[in-house]
Subunit: 273 residues, 2 copies
């Protein structure tokens, strides 16, 4: 893929079962446009999304499901704030999946997730998701391989069923390097507006860096499908990350050929007293 000076190629879906490596050096794009240009371009895409949201809601044929996964400090919260502030909150539902509750653990792993699938007309954003059940669960050995391995298939089947019912699914892995994570965690520790939410468990995950890399790799290559593609987003540079994701979302919405429904002619004929 050739790159001109300061040009950013669009994100492309990970090919199903691709030979995938998640190398630190790929967390950054070479020769990215400068910050001001990127900010401007991102805000154009954000505006496009907010515009398309109106017709998306009215059209009513589709739901949009955006799955965000990534290591701690990879920018999941920031991505949501940057791309969806400006959207009409009435059409957006964000779900953050935390450690499952006792009740949730009594159910299959897709049970709690299914409840938050977005209805038609809405954008649903998953901050973490059912993928945690092949990531944190696997790395920590909470369940044996005979349990987590079949989940790739269960996930693909589940997502296919959603897609067949009008849910457009986009999955983004925010790919950051080990060095970038260190810098961000250190900043978080020294900032009183951020250090209160610092969780020592974040550091345990960092200690298992390579095990997580393997788990992310398998999840992405096994579950990138035609109906629910995974995108690996170079996320060491926040402005690059925001632009690439916003653009992918806007292009996807655009491709749906959304239309305003027709009014009932009887309704139009009726006057108002």
């Amino acid at each position: 893929m050739s790159r001109g000076r300061g040009r950013l190629p669009k994100l492309t879906p990970v090919a199903p079962r691709a030979a995938l490596r998640l190398l630190d050096r790929d967390a950054r794009v070479p020769d990215a446009p400068d910050d001001d240009k990127l900010k401007k371009r991102t805000s154009d895409q954000v505006e496009r999304i907010a515009d398309l949201q109106r017709t998306f809601y009215a059209d009513g044929r589709f739901a949009l499901l955006i799955v965000l996964q990534g290591r701690d400090a990879s920018g999941k919260d920031g991505t949501i704030r940057k791309i969806f502030s400006g959207a009409n909150p009435q059409g957006v539902q964000v779900t953050s999946f935390k450690t499952p509750s006792d009740e949730e653990l009594l159910h299959d792993f897709l049970w709690r997730v299914h409840q938050h699938a977005p209805p038609r007309g809405m954008f649903g954003i998953f901050n973490r998701s059912h993928y945690e059940d092949v990531l944190v669960t696997r790395v920590n050995g909470f369940v044996p391989k005979t349990v987590w391995e079949p989940r790739f298939r269960h996930i693909n089947d589940f997502e296919m069923m959603l897609a067949a019912n009008g849910v457009r699914i986009l999955k983004f892995f925010l790919h950051i390097s080990r060095a970038e994570q260190k810098e961000r965690l250190e900043k978080r520790l020294s900032n009183p507006e951020k250090n209160w939410k610092f969780n020592p468990a974040d550091l345990d995950a960092r200690a298992s860096w390579n095990a997580y890399t393997a788990a992310y790799r398998d999840a992405i290559r096994r579950c990138s499908t035609r109906w629910a593609p995974w995108y690996v987003v170079p996320a060491d540079d926040k402005k690059v990350r925001d632009y690439l994701i916003a653009r992918t979302i806007a292009d996807t919405l655009d491709s749906l050929e959304l239309a305003w429904p027709k009014a009932d002619p009887g309704v139009i004929a009726r006057g108002i007293d």
Copy 2:
């Protein structure tokens, strides 16, 4: 209350059990500031809300519940869009209560509402609410007075329990005049971006204008409490409406004396490798 040229008094809560009249002429404020001034002032308040939202989330002691009620075309959707676009969608959950489902009807009237009470740290916005059960339900005679009349008490008790658990509740009645509604419904009918959602039932409610006025009046005066005040918002002018509501919300958040939690000192001491 004296008003200078172009000044807008703050909204004040309806006094509990006040003698309340909802007259068409009160849907408009005399001598409002001009549009440009109002727009600027509203955007200042919207920014204040977005700012305070960050500390509100971090502080974690409170939830905010905003209830929007009003006749068709009174501007519930528009208010949400104007005031909460710009907020971080991860901290906002909007619930639109529609006609109850068969399952919901098998439960008490607060059952479906309770499930959407906002958790601490979040803004919950109700587009319609449990108040429909003393409004549309009453006007249409779906239940007898012996059923809907005790609901005022049930609502007050329920809201008191929420308030005792950290939920700050603000309830806004968007008060529009009959003439203004006519104008808006006519506009809606002639606009292809809006007429598809036109519901002939909107006209039935208009035919029962006075019965609804009585129902709103009782709901507001019987359920405006110290812990969950009702505000009557003059809403014929959208810019006045947005400003007054945004200001009330921002002032309420401000009054909570929100603070960043302290980090665990052990966490701060720990380095990152």
